[in-house]
């Protein structure tokens, strides 16, 4: 069982919502669609579900061409950012609704709903109406509705976006477990790179209606094929600068900071990408290099410190562990872990991928 998009393209009027895309999702996988708002995640999901038809290209499911087949005839379910439940049904009736429509026997419905409700910690609320539940519970109900059906394809469109922080963390941890032993393909759309890392599986990075890269989540994160994919998969945003390399010696174009690089690449000018957590207030790794910075913004969250600083023309972000108190305007020393630098050539392709 697999879901395959073959050269799928979607145009609305003169706007291209999805540029020609091919993607193959395998059975028993969780696939994250990672991209900012309007990157085309929802459109892509609606095409996968059959809620929307591609302008050109084909969709194959389980070895069959299902392009243009209506959503009712496919076995899929979807969870939305908004908590979508039938307003005047109880939680039980809501979860049972897809089974009732397909004519499953009452006993079986009872048993299946009970099981799913337990999995999602809804057992105590089966007789309540959605309005009486918290946002988290409403979304759990919607998730239960999607799970109870035993769909082949489960689509989750930013399911955690409307939840407050604590509930989001809680549900995010549970999600991968929910799909563990199910014979289905899960697609999870999100704008947050941390969601993708937490969920694991595979990730497709999207920008402006194009799939930039698709592969194992960690691989995409550690070895982004190109600068765009690296940018999409980095939060806080990736720091980028131009450098020149001569032999083992590397140097920023904008300042005098130098370091030795073991990357097996030709001499020349490159762009490097540095993830914020590789610039810290303390030394990390064996090959760290010092850089001076003028503090612009200093944000402390409980366990991490985000320091925005400038160095000449560079305006960068660093992320350190612990609470590193810095004053705005202060000159400070930071350390870059050069082992983690990503080198991109003039065509923005990653070159140190060995």
């Amino acid at each position: 069982m697999s879901l395959e998009l073959k050269n799928v393209e979607k145009k609305v009027g003169i706007d291209t919502h999805i540029h020609t895309t091919s993607l193959k999702l395998e059975k028993n996988t969780i696939n994250v669609l990672l991209g900012s708002t309007l990157a085309g995640k929802t459109t892509l999901m609606q095409i996968m579900a059959g809620l929307d038809k591609p302008t050109s290209g084909e969709i194959w499911f389980d070895g069959k061409n299902v392009t243009g087949m209506k959503v009712q005839k496919r076995n899929c379910s979807m969870v939305y950012q908004q908590f979508i439940n039938y307003p005047n049904y109880t939680v039980y009736e809501n979860i049972a609704s897809p089974l009732v429509i397909t004519g499953v026997k009452t006993d079986e419905i009872k048993q299946r709903v009970g099981k799913v409700a337990e999995l999602l910690k809804l057992s105590a609320m089966l007789n309540k109406k959605p309005d009486e539940l918290s946002g988290g519970q409403q979304q759990r109900t919607a998730l239960a509705r999607a799970l109870v059906k035993d769909s082949d394809l489960i689509l989750l469109d930013e399911p955690l976006a409307n939840l407050d922080f604590k509930l989001r963390e809680e549900l995010r941890e549970e999600l991968p477990k929910l799909f563990e032993d199910r014979d289905c393909i899960v697609v999870y759309a999100t704008t947050e790179p941390s969601d993708a890392l937490m969920i694991g599986g595979n990730t497709a990075t999207l920008l402006e209606g194009k799939v930039i890269q698709y592969g194992k989540t960690l691989e995409v994160y550690n070895k982004p094929e190109n600068l765009i994919s690296a940018k999409v998969f980095s939060d806080p945003p990736m720091n980028i600068a131009e450098i020149t390399k001569r032999g083992d010696n590397c140097k920023f174009t904008d300042n005098d900071v130098q370091w030795k690089s073991s990357a097996k690449i030709k001499d020349g000018t490159y762009k490097i990408g540095i993830r914020p957590h590789n610039i810290t207030t303390y030394k990390e790794g064996n090959n760290s290099v010092e850089i001076n910075g003028k503090v612009q913004i200093s944000e402390l969250s409980g366990s991490e410190s985000l320091i925005h600083f400038t160095n000449g023309n560079l305006s960068w972000v660093s992320l350190s562990n612990g609470t590193q108190q810095k004053n705005v305007g202060e000159d400070t020393k930071l350390y870059m872990n050069t082992d983690e630098f990503l080198y991109f050539d003039q065509n923005n392709r990653l070159v140190n991928n060995g």
Partner: protein, 288 residues
């Protein structure tokens, strides 16, 4: 901490008190005044106690007009609410059709009420009116000035034409506030069109429909101008609804006492029905 006491603030409230007094309280008290007394002009009043109230509540004439009023309101609600929802469902959701439909729908609401009455009067005249003449030409014996059934038919048709738009506009607003994801979710579940309406659209429209029913109830229960111009309450008294009957009594017969008592009873009925209706709706709201 000491609370500062400054009674000057009352001065700011006085204008409102005066306004409300002239606007509502004083006219209402005049009516109350008349309802308990008999007057023969020249500002001479005689105390009558609750006599007028008893007389009105026991009079067959009042029972008849109240019955007609409830029947009329019930019938138009029964037609306008489902019809309004049905029209709203078929209206386009985007494109050039939206403004066209909305403007067409608002037209009847913008026409002055007595113009509506006059329009329909001419429209329905059996000899020269388009509707009346056509019906007769088709073989129906139609004459709204002489046959009570035809008079009712015309009055109801006129009200449906005039006011269904309000229900349409409210329902349309309610429908438009439903997020597309609900329809998609229903589609994925394989829900039928009817199920989508019954379990998504109708519950989501509940609030605007409550408002629509309440507004249509009050307006139709107090209807005066249009039937007055159309039928004048006739033939006989067959379309004399409460307010028409009230005006006949007050200004036609100059029975100021009974008319005042009747207005108060009328007022309390409207208040009571609205209160009961509102509470029932809110009770449902609290449950769900």
């Amino acid at each position: 901490m000491n609370k500062t006491i400054n009674q000057k603030a009352w001065y700011f409230v006085i204008p409102v008190f005066v306004l409300v007094a002239f606007n509502a309280a004083i006219p209402l008290m005049t009516v109350v005044n008349y309802s308990f007394q008999e007057t023969f002009g020249n500002n001479v009043f005689a105390w009558e106690g609750t006599r007028w109230f008893k007389q009105i509540l026991l009079s067959e004439r009042f029972h008849a007009s109240l019955g007609r009023q409830f029947a009329f309101t019930f019938i138009i609600l029964l037609i306008q609410i489902p019809l309004g929802i049905a029209i709203a469902l078929t209206m386009p959701k985007k494109g050039w059709g939206v403004p066209v439909c909305l403007i067409l729908m608002s037209m009847p609401l913008l026409i002055p009420w007595n113009v509506v009455g006059a329009m329909w009067n001419i429209f329905a005249l059996p000899d020269i009116g388009f509707l009346g003449h056509s019906l007769n030409a088709m073989g129906f014996d139609y004459n709204f000035t002489q046959q009570p059934g035809d008079a009712w038919f015309t009055t109801i048709l006129m009200d449906v034409w005039h006011w269904t738009s309000l229900v349409v506009l409210l329902s349309y607003a309610g429908l438009n506030s439903i997020q597309p994801a609900y329809y998609q979710a229903a589609e994925i579940d394989g829900a039928s069109r009817w199920a989508t309406f019954r379990y998504i659209e109708l519950p989501k429209m509940k609030k605007v429909l409550t408002l629509a029913i309440l507004l249509r109830f009050m307006d139709s229960f107090m209807i005066y101008t249009e039937p007055f111009v159309l039928t004048g309450g006739g033939p006989g008294n067959t379309t004399a609804f409460l307010s028409i009957d009230l005006v006949k009594m007050a200004l036609g017969q100059f029975d100021l006492g009974p008319a005042a008592a009747m207005s108060l009873i009328y007022f309390f009925i409207v208040l009571l029905v609205c209160w009961v209706f509102y509470n029932l709706m809110m009770k449902n709201e609290a449950q769900s």
